[in-house]
């Protein structure tokens, strides 16, 4: 499985689009950080999922999963002597690590910029807000994977996956997060993620 993971990372590193999208994400994060905020608001704001991050996640799902269906090139992986299950697990690992990496930019840049604008003060209560952000990220990761496996087309996966994830996370931000306790939100997103991942394995195994 290590080889599969290394090969997928190699692919992401060698694709020019990866850098272009990362640049767009950095610009979006930097621009958003220049809007003055203080204390807790810095992180609360960043824990809302931006459209740029959703698109970056959709792009990763397309490049790692949907593209292989669209081009009919999965067989190269099956013919390299790896189990079908390992192939999907390796993709989920690469996708997960890449998602953490890009979200690091999405959170890190604004926090650093905003903190510097506020005299280097680090926002309070980060431990309350970050679980919400990362559970949402996990949810997007699993929904995008499932969408890519079911739809199997690049552009449609990008559009449908982004639309589903962006609307669910926005509904959560505007409705759910003001109504229910913070602790419940990550639990809901994690439960949704587990469900989507199980469905992904079922669909992928049935080819």
């Amino acid at each position: 499985m290590k080889r599969l993971i290394k090969a997928d990372f190699y692919k992401l590193i060698r694709r020019r689009e990866s850098y272009l999208l990362l640049l767009i994400l950095c610009i979006e994060s930097s621009v958003s950080a220049t809007i003055p905020k203080t204390g807790h608001a810095i992180l609360t704001d960043r824990c809302s999922i931006s459209l740029a991050l959703v698109l970056e996640m959709a792009f990763l799902a397309v490049i790692l999963v949907a593209e292989k269906y669209a081009k009919g090139t999965w067989y190269a992986e099956f013919l390299s002597g790896h189990m079908r299950r390992d192939i999907l697990i390796s993709k989920l690992i690469v996708y997960g690590i890449s998602a953490l990496f890009v979200s690091g930019f999405n959170i890190g840049i604004p926090v650093i910029i905003s903190s510097q604008m506020n005299g280097g003060e680090f926002p309070n209560g980060w431990y309350m807000v970050l679980p919400v952000f990362f559970s949402k990220l996990l949810f997007i990761h699993s929904v995008m994977t499932l969408t890519a496996i079911i739809i199997r087309k690049r552009v449609i996966t990008l559009a449908v996956g982004s639309a589903i994830c962006f609307s669910i996370t926005k509904v959560s931000e505007y409705l759910l997060e003001s109504l229910i306790p913070y602790i419940c939100i990550p639990i809901l997103f994690i439960a949704g993620s587990v469900l989507c991942l199980l469905l992904s394995f079922m669909v992928f195994k049935r080819a």
Binding site: R3, L4, K6, A7, Y10, K11, R14, R15, R16, E17, E67, K71, G72, T73, W74, Y75, A76, E77, F78, L79, S80, G81, H82, M83, R84, R206, A207
Partner: protein, 246 residues
């Protein structure tokens, strides 16, 4: 008598559900001995590509058994599939990457060194474009023939014992077709077996040692080149007789 590296019994593959259900492979039986070059022919929609996909593990059959290199446990077939190289429908290429990157990615997946990449690039005749171009130019700028050569290079990377080639002559120019013929015969001398699906009967006739004719998801004709030679019949004539073409 050589050992069978492929043994398929009562293979059935259906696509769709309910009223949309379509049986593409209908109780197919097939055997391939080590060292054989098996020419698979049949009309469009006969089920050739689906059969190759079942062998490669891309699609899972609804019933029947597939034995590869003596292994028939479906849970362990993935190990045997590591001994197969191939091109099925399209070469497994990422066109947004360079030829070198495509090969490197597959080499990482299979645990193969850069030396082997250089070897296969030389074998398929892509080195004449220069190392720098191979590492820099995206595959999307390549001609169909060059993409096909790159696909064959990827298939050869893992030193396969069996090559599955679906329409391998697509996009190859006359020189490329001659090169391909020599490559197949040369690899076959080294012990590599082949399943070649093609519509070009005369080209197939130049290399194949046995043939299977598919119709409606079944192999309806099975003949060796020796049997054809003894009967004085060409493969084209045999094909017409079996399929019922006037």
């Amino acid at each position: 008598m050589s050992d069978n590296i492929i043994k398929i019994e009562n293979l059935i593959k259906q696509y769709g559900k309910g009223s949309n259900r379509r049986e593409v492979i209908r109780g197919l039986n097939m055997q391939l001995a080590k060292g054989d070059i098996f020419g698979l022919v049949g009309r469009n929609g006969a089920g050739k590509t689906t059969l190759l996909k079942c062998i490669a593990g891309i699609v899972l059959p609804n019933s029947g058994s597939i034995e590869l290199f003596g292994e028939n446990n479906p849970q362990k077939l993935y190990i045997s599939r590591g001994k197969i190289g191939g091109i099925i429908e399209k070469p497994p290429i990422d066109e947004d990457m360079s030829a070198w990157d495509n090969l490197k990615m597959c080499a990482i997946r299979m645990g193969i060194t850069d030396e082997r990449i250089k070897e296969v690039l030389a074998t398929v005749g892509l080195t004449r474009h220069g190392d720098a171009a191979l590492k820099r130019e995206r595959v999307k700028t390549y001609s169909l023939g060059m993409k096909q050569r790159l696909g064959i290079a990827i298939a050869l990377l893992g030193k396969p014992e069996l090559m599955i080639l679906d329409e391998p002559l697509n996009g190859l120019d006359p020189e490329g077709i001659m090169w391909f013929r020599e490559l197949v015969l040369d690899l076959n001398k080294q012990g590599v077996s082949f399943i070649i699906s093609s519509h070009l009967l005369r080209e197939l006739d130049e290399v194949a040692t046995c043939y299977g004719i598919m119709k409606y998801g079944k192999i309806i004709g099975n003949v060796t080149s020796e049997e054809l030679h003894n009967s004085g019949e060409s493969f084209e004539e045999y094909y017409k007789k079996i399929v019922g073409v006037q």
